[in-house]
């Protein structure tokens, strides 16, 4: 019996070693952060939302972009923990600062960088990711190549800063060196028989996750945290695609 326990322990340690070699931070601090995602944590490698990595969010429409901004703001509110500072890089000014407060983010703790060209945005994001005093870096970039994303990944591996790459209307959904790919869609709010608009509801689709399990979840933002509505495992992903993903990762 003790032999079996020993083996389980060895396997667990090996898994952790592999994860850390693949660029995941599995420090004790990453488990302390509770993003309120609940059962969704099972989809992530190591059972915790990967911090110190770059997440890619793809929004095909304006409404999806607002939903994605909302979702990542919800994550930011935990990452910033009321005192962190975040860098937000964008080419156009769409974000309305008072709206962030509804998602638990103090808008004046964010330093906005308005860039003129996407190349500048990439440079700023890389500089930001290298600065480990920041809680997170958000960049709104439309198109980015695999090589460019790998540069960003290398920056976070040393600094352990969490990056979010928000791509709105990308020309192609090319493979990137990011740890995950998300698609957020707005959902009709649940008001039952009552009139009016309810709490914001989102459909969160984890399209790709390195060493994790993709899936679709539905959340409601209520009382300053995410609340799970339903969970659906993603079975539509075909095996070859998964293998290809592993190859690039």
């Amino acid at each position: 019996m003790s032999e079996l326990a020993e083996k389980i322990e060895i396997i667990r340690r090996l898994k952790e070693t592999i994860l850390s070699m693949e660029g995941f931070s599995t420090g004790p601090d990453s488990r302390l952060l509770d993003f309120g995602l609940g059962p969704m944590n099972a989809a992530f490698p190591g059972g915790a939302f990967p911090v110190g990595a770059i997440h890619e969010l793809i929004s095909p429409t304006e409404a999806c972009a607002a939903a994605a901004t909302g979702f990542l703001s919800g994550l930011l509110s935990v990452l910033m923990k009321k005192e962190g500072i975040c860098l937000w890089v964008s080419a156009e000014r769409k974000l309305f600062a008072p709206g962030l407060k509804f998602l638990g983010v103090e808008p004046h703790r964010i330093i906005f960088i308005g860039v003129k060209r996407e190349k500048e945005a990439l440079w700023v994001m890389e500089q930001g990711l290298k600065c480990n005093s920041l809680a997170a870096v958000v960049a709104e970039i439309r198109d980015i190549s695999f090589a460019e994303s790998r540069r960003l990944q290398l920056a976070v591996e040393t600094s352990k800063v969490t990056g979010f790459l928000h791509r709105q209307h990308p020309r192609i959904e090319n493979t990137l060196a990011c740890v995950s790919r998300w698609k957020i869609r707005p959902l009709a709010s649940r008001t039952g028989e009552l009139p009016g608009v309810g709490f914001p509801c989102l459909e969160v689709e984890l399209v790709k996750i390195r060493n994790g399990r993709p899936g679709v979840w539905q959340f409601e933002w209520k009382n300053g945290t995410f609340n799970l509505i339903t969970e659906r495992s993603r079975i539509t992903v075909k095996l070859p695609e998964l293998q290809k993903q592993r190859h690039y990762a």
Binding site: G99, R109, V197
Partner: protein
């Protein structure tokens, strides 16, 4: 740039000092004496005594014979010197270059200063008024040369400002003593009947030199501006500048980097000693073909971190064109500020984090421009466009809370986009609207929230805002501008909710 000098003569410096210390003496006849060859000799007399003809050099016993009630005090030379120095330091607010002219004068190099006070006249009036208020009797003059300013201050009472280039005319009517000559020369001039400068200014220099010596010619030239006179400022301008001459001309980027590093190290060492930091700096290279090349940087907070400053400069090194080579490098901090060791907590992060973040922002601002960096603070306005304020400083804290009592979108269109709507009743949310050739059916709606124009800032119809949700779940912020009636109100899409 043509030089301008201001001379301030404190006519009764010693007695003014004493009557400031002892207010009861003000307006009374009293004098200062010093023992000389066993006699009490007058060194300075108060204003009222001076008007009665009591001048320095008289014996106190003689004065007592004329004015039995006169008060006498011992002359304190050191205190007077200190006072003159203090006055010179006080004058630094008017010009960075101030020199003392013992025993009772101040010389200010005012080139390029008076326009800040609105011209030379108001500049002069401002200084005289403040000195008079402080209890000093002063005579002042502004001229192109120190010599002329001295002469006018001492011997010309009605004219105080000599226009540029007019010093020769101004001197003509003055006595020879106005040229600051020694007493033997003055006596000789008097003996020969020269009572005004104009009487001998035209005599050939050769003759003047033979009779009165070289010293007189120098004084004359200094007054006219043909010979230079040097000031010894009480406080030399503290320039934060480092120089690095090179043995061989530098042509490579690596060489420039090494030079820059070395200059930064010495400058930052000095900053550490003095508790200062650089806000703006210029790095210059003097090329052997006579040209200079330069790059400049700015920081958000005063910095004395050589590595960080180097990083800021490094981005601009490619702009330096060394051509045939650079033989001298200089680094100057043009704006220097104090660095306080215990800076107030910036947003509650650690001091280390603050420095790292402000250095990061400096880096970004250096590359893409400071206008790219901004933060948002809440403003007490209901009108959505003016409810946030854009600030560029990192330290500024919000004065009011961010409001959450009314729904606000996460994305706001920079300009409200006009939409076509179909509404059943006035004051009802629309049933559907058309935006970018797409018909969006509305399922749920909240509102209206009426936001009136702030009439003290702008005028116009109010907006009625609705938060609406379509079939797919997308949430929009729509508003109707104005009331139903004639003309029909216009509808706009203004933002997206989460």
């Amino acid at each position: 740039m043509p030089k301008r000098y201001l001379y301030i003569w404190f006519r009764y410096l010693g007695t003014d000092r004493l009557s400031k210390i002892r207010p009861e003496l003000r307006g009374k006849p009293f004098l200062l004496y010093t023992p000389e060859h066993g006699r009490m000799v007058v060194k300075a007399s108060s204003q009222s005594l001076a008007k009665d003809g009591i001048s320095p050099g008289m014996v106190v016993a003689d004065v007592r014979a004329i004015f039995p009630s006169v008060d006498v005090f011992e002359y304190d030379r050191d205190a007077e010197e200190r006072l003159l120095n203090d006055l010179a330091e006080w004058c630094l607010r008017y010009s960075p270059v101030v020199a003392t002219d013992p025993p009772d004068g101040l010389i200010l190099d005012i080139s390029g200063c008076p326009h800040l006070w609105g011209g030379e006249l108001s500049y002069l009036q401002s200084i005289t008024a403040r000195l008079c208020k402080g209890g000093y009797d002063v005579c002042t003059a502004i001229a192109d040369t120190i010599g002329t300013a001295w002469a006018i201050a001492h011997y010309q009472k009605n004219e105080m400002i000599i226009d540029p280039g007019k010093q020769a005319e101004a001197l003509l009517a003055l006595p020879p003593a106005a040229l600051r000559l020694d007493s033997s020369t003055l006596q000789r001039l008097k003996k020969l009947g020269f009572r005004q400068i104009g009487q001998f200014i035209g005599i050939p220099r050769l003759n003047l030199r033979r009779r009165f010596g070289e010293a007189m010619l120098i004084r004359l030239d200094q007054a006219l501006g043909t010979a230079r006179e040097f000031l010894k400022p009480i406080q030399p301008a503290r320039v934060y500048q480092e120089r690095l001459p090179c043995l061989e001309p530098i042509r490579t980027a690596t060489g420039i980097e090494i030079a820059l590093k070395r200059l930064l190290e010495t400058l930052c060492e000095r900053f550490f000693k003095e508790g200062k930091g650089m806000r703006t700096g210029i790095f210059k290279g003097y090329r052997i073909d006579g040209e200079t090349v330069q790059i400049s940087i700015g920081t958000n907070r005063a910095s004395r971190n050589a590595a960080h400053l180097f990083k800021l400069f490094e981005l601009k090194i490619p702009e330096i064109k060394p051509a045939l080579g650079i033989e001298l490098f200089t680094l100057e901090a043009t704006l220097v500020e104090d660095v306080s060791e215990t800076q107030e907590a910036l947003w509650g992060t650690t001091n280390l984090g603050q420095t790292a973040i402000s250095e990061l922002v400096d880096n970004i601002a250096g590359k893409i421009g400071i206008q790219a960096v901004h933060r948002y603070l809440p403003q007490e306005h209901y009108w959505p466009e003016s409810s946030v304020q854009e600030v560029s400083s990192l330290e500024e804290q919000p004065e009011t809370e961010w409001r959450t009592d009314r729904p606000r979108p996460i994305h706001l269109l920079p300009k409200p986009a006009p939409v076509e709507v179909m509404a059943v009743l006035p004051d009802h949310p629309p049933m559907h609207f058309r935006y970018k050739d797409e018909i969006i059916r509305i399922v749920r709606a909240d509102g209206p929230e009426r936001i009136e124009q702030e009439w003290w800032l702008q005028s116009g119809p109010p907006r009625d805002y609705y938060r609406v949700e379509d079939e797919s779940g997308a949430r929009y912020w729509l508003f109707r501008l104005g009331f139903y009636g004639n003309p029909k109100p216009q509808w706009f899409l203004h933002g997206y909710f989460v």
